[in-house]
């Protein structure tokens, strides 16, 4: 087979494998989910998932740690959240701060 054909095999294979990985979690038997320990951990996993995503999205570029216009943007977002601003305002303000600073050539 050509390299092109093998690339297709890898793409479809990766797709099937990913679907299977996703499906496994959805097939964990019901009774296993009643465990209070599992419920506690699942609730905390939500916190780690969201904060890890926020931290990585704010402070990394590829494999590097990087401080740029996203940092003031997230600080503004934090202040707005503290002032109980609506979700969409927080997100739009963060985008505006980062885009504005970059347009001015800062970070």
């Amino acid at each position: 087979m050509t390299h092109y054909a093998w690339t297709w095999v890898a793409i479809v294979g990766a797709g099937v494998a990913m679907w299977a990985v996703k499906a496994v979690g959805h097939r964990v038997p019901e009774h296993a989910l009643d465990n209070p320990r599992l419920v506690r951990i699942a609730s905390l996993v939500t916190v780690t998932l969201l904060t890890a995503l926020a931290a990585i999205q704010t402070l990394t570029s590829g494999n590097r740690l990087e401080v740029d216009a996203r940092v003031p943007a997230i600080v503004v977002a934090g202040l707005l959240l503290w002032r109980k601003a609506p979700f969409i305002v927080v997100v739009a303000a963060a985008a505006g701060v980062a885009a504005g600073m970059r347009a001015l050539g800062w970070g």
Binding site: K22, T46, A52
Partner: protein, 239 residues
């Protein structure tokens, strides 16, 4: 207004739409990178349609672009996607029971963002959690695939989504989603330790792995039974 249903959009819908746009925009980078790595338009589209997990797709084309074998590309992609398997467990109270096409589609759109927005809704509000899961999952799927095509066609001419501040928008969206859960000290500690670990591991591990390892903090913190005194606060954390 009722026809469009816009008047009835709940906070869960607003969050789902914001996260879908901020995430979907990154498919522009993916499409351009994939073509630059030597894949053609159809292969690029197939990756977004079939694999549908950002970190895994970037890793797949990264391996190919660096001259690696297609087998290593597929294996790396799958390894990075293992965390998606855990999301099905966390989503069980939200989505079960499901059958037929719903189960097929729901499985395919089980990713970081759909899980995060669904679980960020109040624990008792199953309707909001379901809306958040489906709107975010399908929203990201549609935009991610459409914008992948645009990125692949425009190639090197695409602008950087960062110029529009979309990277900061995504970061702010995740912060806003976790915000209500940081009200008690236990969750706050878990959050700080988890983000420190995720950031500390970033220079040394492929994308996706730091998020997975950060989840170990949740396992360690959630393993012991809470003592009576902090049980009330732990229950507060869950709401």
């Amino acid at each position: 207004m009722a026809l469009l249903g816009l008047g009835r959009l709940t906070p869960a819908h607003h969050q789902a739409i914001s996260v879908s746009v901020a995430t979907g925009a990154y498919a522009l980078s993916f499409g351009a990178l994939s073509v630059a790595a030597g894949l053609d338009l159809w292969q690029t589209m197939a990756l977004s349609l079939l694999v549908f997990s950002g970190g895994s797709q970037f890793a797949f084309v990264g391996v190919i672009g660096a001259g690696g074998s297609v087998a290593v590309a597929a294996a790396t992609s799958t390894f990075l996607g293992v965390r998606n398997g855990f999301y099905g467990v966390a989503l069980a109270p939200v989505v079960r029971p499901w059958h037929g096409p719903r189960a097929w589609w729901g499985t395919q759109v089980t990713i970081d963002e759909s899980t995060a927005v669904a679980l960020a809704q109040p624990e008792g509000d199953r309707e909001a959690r379901q809306a958040a899961f489906w709107w975010t999952g399908v929203g990201v799927y549609v935009l991610w695939n459409a914008i992948t095509v645009a990125g692949a066609l425009l190639g090197q001419r695409v602008g950087d989504p960062a110029a529009w501040g979309l990277d900061a928008a995504a970061a702010a969206a995740f912060l806003a989603l976790v915000w209500p859960r940081l009200a008690n000290r236990r969750s706050l500690t878990v959050a700080v330790v988890a983000s420190a670990i995720a950031l500390g591991l970033t220079p040394f591990s492929p994308a996706g792995v730091p998020i997975m390892v950060a989840a170990v903090v949740a396992v360690v913190a959630g393993w012991p039974s809470p003592r009576a005194g902090i049980r009330a606060r732990a229950a507060g954390a869950a709401s």
